[in-house]
């Protein structure tokens, strides 16, 4: 969990906020919530992959250096 940056978490928070607002949003505009939540989730997944990959590389380097 610590591998994820603040930016990555930020996008997840936005996605959750948009989904929480789904119910109070009038029906005609609900597609906006879904589109924005989808976009935020897309960035969350992309940054998660990037953060996890970076953390793995760092761990690998540290392990390689300690040998």
């Amino acid at each position: 969990m610590r591998a994820l940056s603040r930016r990555t978490w930020f996008f997840l928070v936005i996605a959750v906020a948009m989904l929480l607002l789904y119910e109070p949003t009038p029906e005609t505009f609900r597609w906006v919530n879904l589109a924005l939540a989808g976009l935020a989730l897309f960035w969350f997944v992309l940054f998660t992959i990037e953060d996890v990959g970076r953390a793995r590389r760092v761990r690998h380097r540290v392990r390689g250096g300690s040998r």
Binding site: R7, A17, M18, L21, P24, V32
Partner: protein, 329 residues
């Protein structure tokens, strides 16, 4: 039309003029700082597109504003109280430096005046629900679109070495993005004033409850916001000159285009949103493509406080102002 009606319409147009006056910076700051246009050209460009917005957008936002309370709620006194509440809160928050939205202040003022004159049952909660939800959605939309726009540009051109040529392209693009933002600003904000004027006309029996917005109202509201932008822009040119923060053309274009799309969408949907908060969200989105710490979170948290405080603040002010005005009805 009585003198009282003309006076209230005058105050509403003054509110519109002030809106254009202090939002002019949003429209011209990036084109001036990237030297795409000279300050004089930028002011004229923004003022023209703020005025021309009436050609592109309908009057759905104005209808939403005129329907925030049930038919028969508003009288001349309550509309004056609403306007004084909104303008008063704008002035207080301007003095304290809180970046509030005049649109939210107007909506809060109308609610306060309606509750003071008729009671809670007078409010049209469906319209308020739409407005309150979009207080959060509009800046988030600006943020996500600007972030995505910037990310695509950075990804597409990361191997491109001719930076000067690239910047020249984005400079030209900024002409269109600034025009689009000014259209969005004029479209959404001028319609709020149209909504108030329509409410006055309905309250005085000059037009019927479901009548469309008269053309002279549409024209005068856009003229007032256009003139406000023109004179507000001049003031910015004189006081700020070249001190505006240095921006990259691509960042300016990304934030303006994203804010314009968000405002256009809200305007077509008939939702009054804050243009200032929408462009702020878009600028934060551009900053986030560098790193999250590049964003001035102090400013962002002040915007969030503004979300929380504006509507209740204007509500209370309008409510209090209505009490001595009640006899004037």
């Amino acid at each position: 039309m009585t003198v009282a009606v003309l006076l209230i319409i005058g105050v509403a147009l003054l509110f519109d003029y002030i809106n254009g006056f202090h939002d002019a910076a949003n429209s011209i700051a990036t084109v001036v700082s990237t030297r795409v246009l000279t300050p004089k050209q930028a002011v004229a460009w923004a003022a023209f597109f703020n005025f021309a917005a009436f050609i592109f957008f309908g009057t759905k936002v104005a209808e939403t504003i005129s329907q925030v309370a049930r038919p028969g709620t508003f009288t001349n006194a309550s509309i004056v109280a609403a306007l004084i509440g909104a303008i008063g809160l704008d002035l207080i928050t301007w003095w304290t430096g809180l970046p509030t939205s005049s649109s939210h202040a107007l909506v809060g003022g109308l609610a306060g005046a309606a509750v003071a004159s008729v009671g809670w049952s007078s409010l049209n909660y469906a319209e308020y629900q739409k407005i309150i939800v979009f207080i959060v959605i509009a800046p988030v939309m600006g943020f996500l679109l600007a972030f995505t726009f910037m990310a695509i540009v950075l990804w597409a051109f990361h191997r491109y070495r001719k930076v000067d040529k690239l910047n020249r392209g984005f400079r030209h693009g900024q002409l269109f993005s600034a025009a689009a933002f000014s259209l969005g600003h004029g479209g959404n904000d001028a319609q709020k004033t149209m909504g108030v004027i329509l409410t006055v006309l309905i309250a005085n029996g000059i037009v019927s409850q479901n009548a469309p917005v008269p053309l002279w109202v549409v024209f005068s509201a856009h003229l007032a916001i256009g003139l406000g932008t023109l004179f507000g822009g001049w003031r910015i040119v004189h006081t700020m000159g070249s001190k505006i923060t240095k921006l990259q053309p691509v960042g300016g274009m990304a934030s303006e285009t994203s804010a314009a799309i968000s405002l256009g969408l809200a305007t077509f949907g008939g939702v009054p949103v804050s243009t200032t908060h929408t462009i702020s969200g878009a600028i934060v989105g551009v900053g986030t493509t560098q790193r999250l710490s590049a964003v001035r979170w102090g400013v962002a948290s002040r915007v969030m406080w503004a979300w929380v405080l504006t509507i209740p603040g204007a509500f209370i002010l309008a409510y209090v102002v209505y009490i001595p005005l009640k006899g004037l009805t």
